[in-house]
């Protein structure tokens, strides 16, 4: 299918140049992996006047870990996240999330930054970054700023990004000296799928937890109510059941061709129960291997 619209194409080599171009054009689109944008161009959902390819900006291509902050450049692909030693050793749940995104051919191009900029409700990165209290590093004509994940997602496909701004990195602070996590994602079968519901849990020292849910509201939901119940407690069937009972009140899933509201709510409860046990046992050193599908 050809793309009907015409646009300018640029591949700047610096953030500054990219921001300048974003300011210059009325409807610019940023191109990283292209797995969302190219489809939108074909279906005429996006009709930009310029496409700014950020893959030529060297500083956007790295994964660094410094001062207990993991910085993922905007041009880093999901495959690179999977291959990263520091992620495998220190933030294994990020790799667990990355593995569920599409398939190899998609992951070799798609970026986490692109995922959180498209901000579709089912984005896998959403609950991940909500739970980690990550920050988006944003460069614009007025300089740079950091946006907390909780403030970043404004609605389905809406973010806090302003005109001519460019997300240059995602910063994930290490939440504790040691932590474990679990990502459970609901699909219709075993192959690649967009999440119909997702749960991301972090297990921290002192029986502290962070719980986030994705694809069941316009934005990722940080389930603080559930965390308050959990924190400091031993996990028991009753405690988990109490948490499960809170879930319907925290989310607003829709019924669409992928799943009904009822099933999504039900599965959030199931996924929460399995996810929290997995995260807790991984923290204790005897949990299932990261990447094992719990549902």
């Amino acid at each position: 299918m050809p793309i009907l619209s015409e646009f300018e194409y640029f591949k700047p080599s610096s953030v500054r140049e990219a921001v300048r171009l974003l300011s210059k054009y009325k409807k610019p689109a940023v191109l990283a992996g292209g797995t969302d944008l190219i489809n939108n161009l074909k279906e005429e959902i996006d009709q930009p006047d310029a496409v700014i390819d950020i893959k030529g900006i060297k500083e956007l291509g790295g994964i660094t870990y410094k001062n207990r902050v993991l910085t993922i450049g905007a041009a880093v692909t999901f495959s690179e996240l999977l291959d990263s030693r520091v992620i495998q050793s220190r933030f294994p749940v990020i790799a667990e999330v990355a593995k569920t995104v599409g398939s190899v051919g998609i992951r070799n191009r798609a970026t986490m930054a692109g995922n959180i900029c498209s901000a579709v409700a089912c984005a896998d990165s959403g609950p991940l970054l909500a739970a980690y209290e990550a920050l988006m590093l944003v460069h614009g004509p007025k300089g740079k700023r950091r946006a907390l994940a909780a403030k970043w997602f404004k609605g389905n496909k809406r973010t806090d990004i302003k005109k001519a701004e460019l997300v240059t990195a995602i910063e994930i602070p290490l939440p504790a000296r040691r932590h474990a996590g679990c990502y459970v994602k609901l699909g219709r079968y075993s192959g690649e799928d967009l999440a119909q519901a997702s749960v991301l849990i972090l297990a921290l020292p002192g029986k502290q937890y962070r719980v986030a849910l994705g694809a069941v509201s316009p934005v990722p939901v940080r389930a603080s109510k559930i965390e308050r119940l959990l924190n400091g407690q031993d996990l028991s069937d009753q405690l988990i059941a109490k948490c499960q009972a809170l879930i319907p009140g925290l989310i607003s899933p829709i019924t669409d061709i992928r799943a009904t509201k009822e099933y999504r709510v039900h599965m959030c409860q199931v996924m929460f129960a399995r996810g929290i046990r997995a995260a807790a046992s991984r923290f204790s050193g005897n949990g299932p291997e990261y990447g094992v599908n719990l549902i």
Binding site: P2, G191, R258, T260, H266
Partner: protein, 779 residues
């Protein structure tokens, strides 16, 4: 008879190398030079509407637009079994996506842009989106002119209704049968529409040259049938059959969807609008979903009467098919299913009503299984429930009622040789049917399911196959047939047959793709009949070559032909051990005599096969007296599942399928059909799910939301079992298999779910969501 050297062996596919090197060309890979034009279709956004006006002015004015055509340029009906379709909608549209006009331009971008400029005004009509509405008394008629449609003699359209065809089967006396029964049990099963999803979309290129020849290159299962329909439909333009040529390159999957004529007629018609230039039309994936044949939906009401000991005495089936806006092909699915909706069982009293109902949804048509998967879901589910009510083992129940050779079929004639009992026993054994294996995981539960299946090729009584075999100077062969290589591997099977008769190795045999100018006639590559039909034709052609060879040797050398035989590409003598005349020495050149003259010449064999015992004539009210089906292929399948009770997700540790193929000419290729068919069938049971909105628009015309299996979705172990009870009129005893391996999948899964959970799910797909919520609500 000595051991077979080629037939019955796992030969490497002769089309393997082109496919793994990228050399294999599909229709979109062909180049047509700078003169190639591109067509874009203007489609109806409404499910049912009158076309008030079409304004093509703006589109025509766009630079690089060559022509814009609408229905009035092609007011020709066409259809395979019934002429109810037009090339472009005429006075009204009948489904969302139906083609209303086309723009032909010098490049695809212009064609697409110009298509948007074509303005169509519609007067919307109420849309009929389900069978129930279509069958209401005094309904809105989707085809008011039904009475005037030409159709094959075995169709019975009901004028002034939306019933395009009603197949009635009446055998024995069902009411009496139900009275005799110890248990009478009725239930309803629903099966929605499904999509073929071949990875290659439909596409065709048409070229009407200045000499008046029309050539169409199409991704097609049916080049000769297409030629016939094009020639018939375009006859008013002065074309005759000899002037129409259809060339079919490799096809990227058919599954029935590329049979008959659907969008290919656009290439033929549009070519005549721009004489001199080839014009290409390629379907997008979305169009592939909503504007090609779909597998029809079915609501089946099944009533069975059985004795305490499990003998079936009566069966009543009321089958209502959601057949879509045009049924020129789909009505035969309804017909075929109607004749066989008893399943492979011996039942003395049968009443079947199989109704083909028009709806304002995409046209239904041929899909692997041709109606059998659809009705078998209900029937095999119902049989399980019946066995359960009687306290009988479901496998034993089936064995007791299994149809055997010589038993009467629903329409009177007799069942062919079949190894159904052997299939049942072997499938059951393969998954250790009697062994209860409870789950070790408290969150899961295990179950086993079983289903029998059968299918006969649904063909007109005179469906034929022909073959030519040419020798070359080096003793190699070209086999010319018009069957299509759609992936099943038939070319290799034909080569094996020719090799067996002529003792030429496979490495020296080519089987050519169809070109209707050059390759002889084949009805269609459908119905799982190619190994049987074309195989017979190729065998006869090879035997014809052998006859010519032996006759020539006798004539040239003055010795009795009975003395000679072929071995390793050489003519050998039974009486003279030293005699060896290589085929290559004379297969083109003839045999030189002592005086320098030659005898013989190029060896060219001809073979034709058409069954002469098949007839579609039968009683219109009872279907008795005909012989519409050449033979049935039977089998049985068994599956072991494990269900996660919280998520509803199902995994398949083991599935077995036994099928009686008569003779497996290439056993490996048959096993491949078992794997491929089961995976496709299991997907229809578990997650393929077509969704329409309230206005008849397909909501998921893409792989993002219509999920087909990936490599991660296959069962853990697949056990193909080949049974061989020879088909007397098949080449080396072979019978067809291709569609069959998909047919038992859905009911087998439904039965396993019931076995595991005690929950009977009577509608497809049986998704994880359906199972999880059913378990939840049961509590």
């Amino acid at each position: 008879m000595s051991e077979l050297k080629f037939v019955g062996h796992d030969e490497i596919r002769i089309d393997g190398k082109p496919k793994i090197t990228g050399a294999a060309q599909f229709v979109d890979d062909l180049d047509f030079g700078p003169g190639l034009l591109y067509a874009e279709i203007v489609e109806s956004p409404l499910a049912h509407a009158e076309i008030k006006s079409i304004d093509t002015g703006k589109a025509e004015q766009m630079p690089d637009v060559v022509k814009v055509v609408t229905g009035k340029d092609f007011p020709f009906r066409f259809g395979l079994y019934m002429h109810d379709r037009f090339v472009f909608a005429q006075d009204r549209v009948r489904f969302v996506g139906e083609q209303v006009a086309a723009v032909i331009a010098r490049d695809p971008v212009t064609a697409k842009k110009a298509a948007k400029l074509v303005k169509v005004r519609y007067h919307e009509l109420p849309a009929i989106l389900n069978v129930e509405d279509a069958l209401k008394p005094h309904p809105l008629l989707i085809h008011p002119d039904l009475k005037s449609y030409k159709h094959v003699p075995w169709f019975f359209p009901q004028v002034n209704t939306n019933i395009a065809h009603w197949r009635k089967v009446r055998k024995g006396d069902v009411e009496a049968g139900f009275k005799q029964a110890d248990l009478v049990f009725e239930d309803t099963y629903t099966v929605p529409r499904y999509a073929h999803c071949a990875i290659e979309t439909h596409g065709a290129v048409g070229h009407h040259d200045y000499s008046g020849r029309l050539t169409v290159w199409a991704a097609s299962q049916s080049p000769f049938t297409q030629r016939n329909l094009f020639a018939e439909a375009l006859a008013p333009l002065g074309l005759s059959h000899k002037d129409v040529r259809v060339i079919a390159p490799f096809v990227g999957g058919g599954f029935g969807g590329k049979a008959g004529v659907s969008m290919e007629i656009l290439a033929a018609a549009l070519a005549t609008a721009v004489q001199g230039n080839p014009v290409k039309i390629l379907w997008s994936r979305a169009q592939e979903f909503y504007n090609t044949y779909q597998r029809q939906g079915l609501t089946a009401k099944t009533k069975i009467g059985v004795k305490k000991d499990g003998t079936i005495v009566a069966l009543e089936q009321t089958l209502h098919w959601d057949a879509g806006a045009y049924v020129e092909y789909g009505a035969n699915v309804v017909n075929a299913a109607g004749l066989s909706a008893t399943g492979p069982y011996r039942i003395p009293n049968v009443k079947i009503d199989s109704c083909c109902v028009y709806t304002n949804l995409p046209p239904g048509g041929p899909y692997r299984g041709f109606g059998y998967s659809e009705f078998l879901f209900g029937l095999e589910s119902h049989i399980n429930e019946t066995a359960k009510k009687l306290g009988l083992d479901p496998v034993e129940f089936r064995r007791r009622n299994a149809i055997q050779e010589g038993d009467p079929l629903t329409y009177g004639s007799k069942m062919n040789p079949s190894g159904l009992i052997e299939c049942i026993d072997k499938a059951a054994e393969a998954i250790e049917w009697s062994k209860k294996e409870p789950s070790e995981n408290p969150k899961t539960v295990r179950g086993k399911g079983f289903a029998c299946f059968w299918k006969a090729p649904a063909m007109p009584p005179n469906a034929s196959s022909t073959a030519f075999i040419k020798f070359n100077e080096d003793g190699s062969l070209n086999v010319l047939v018009s069957a299509m290589e759609i992936g099943q591997g038939f070319q290799t099977v034909m080569a094996q047959i020719a090799a067996e008769v002529l003792t030429v190795p496979l490495s020296k045999i080519r089987v050519e793709l169809p070109d209707t100018d050059r390759n002889p006639y084949e009805w269609q590559t459908v119905a799982s009949h190619i190994t049987w039909g074309t195989g017979n034709a190729v065998k006869r052609a090879a035997e014809d070559c052998r006859e010519q060879i032996l006759e020539l040797v006798e004539r040239a050398l003055g010795k009795k032909r009975e003395d000679f035989y072929l071995e390793s590409e050489t003519v050998r003598s039974r009486s003279e051990a030293d005699f060896a005349l290589p085929l290559r020495d004379f297969a083109i050149n003839g045999i030189m005599m002592k005086d320098g003259t030659y005898r013989g010449g190029p060896i060219v064999g001809r073979g034709m096969f058409m069954p002469e015992f098949s007839s579609a004539l039968s009683d219109a009210e009872t279907s008795q007296g005909g012989k519409p089906n050449v033979h049935y292929t039977v089998g049985a399948a068994a599956v072991e599942i494990e269900i996660d009770k919280e998520t509803g997700r199902l995994r398949i540790p083991r599935v077995a399928l036994a099928v009686d193929v008569g003779k497996a000419i290439n056993p490996g290729l048959v096993r491949n059909q078992v794997v491929g068919g089961l995976v496709q069938g299991i997907a229809t049971a578990l997650y393929e799910d077509m969704r329409f909105d309230a206005k008849g628009r397909l909501l998921n015309p893409n792989f993002t939301d219509y999920k087909i299996p990936t490599a991660m979705d296959v069962p853990e172990r697949v056990i193909p079992i080949l049974v061989e009870v020879a088909q007397p009129d098949g080449p080396y005893g072979a019978r067809g298999v291709g569609e069959h391996t998909m047919i038992p999948a859905a009911p087998m899964i439904a039965n396993a779910v019931e076995n595991a959970l005690g929950i009977r799910i009577k509608s497809m797909p049986i998704t994880a969501e359906k199972i999880a919520l059913a378990i939840k609500h049961k509590r």
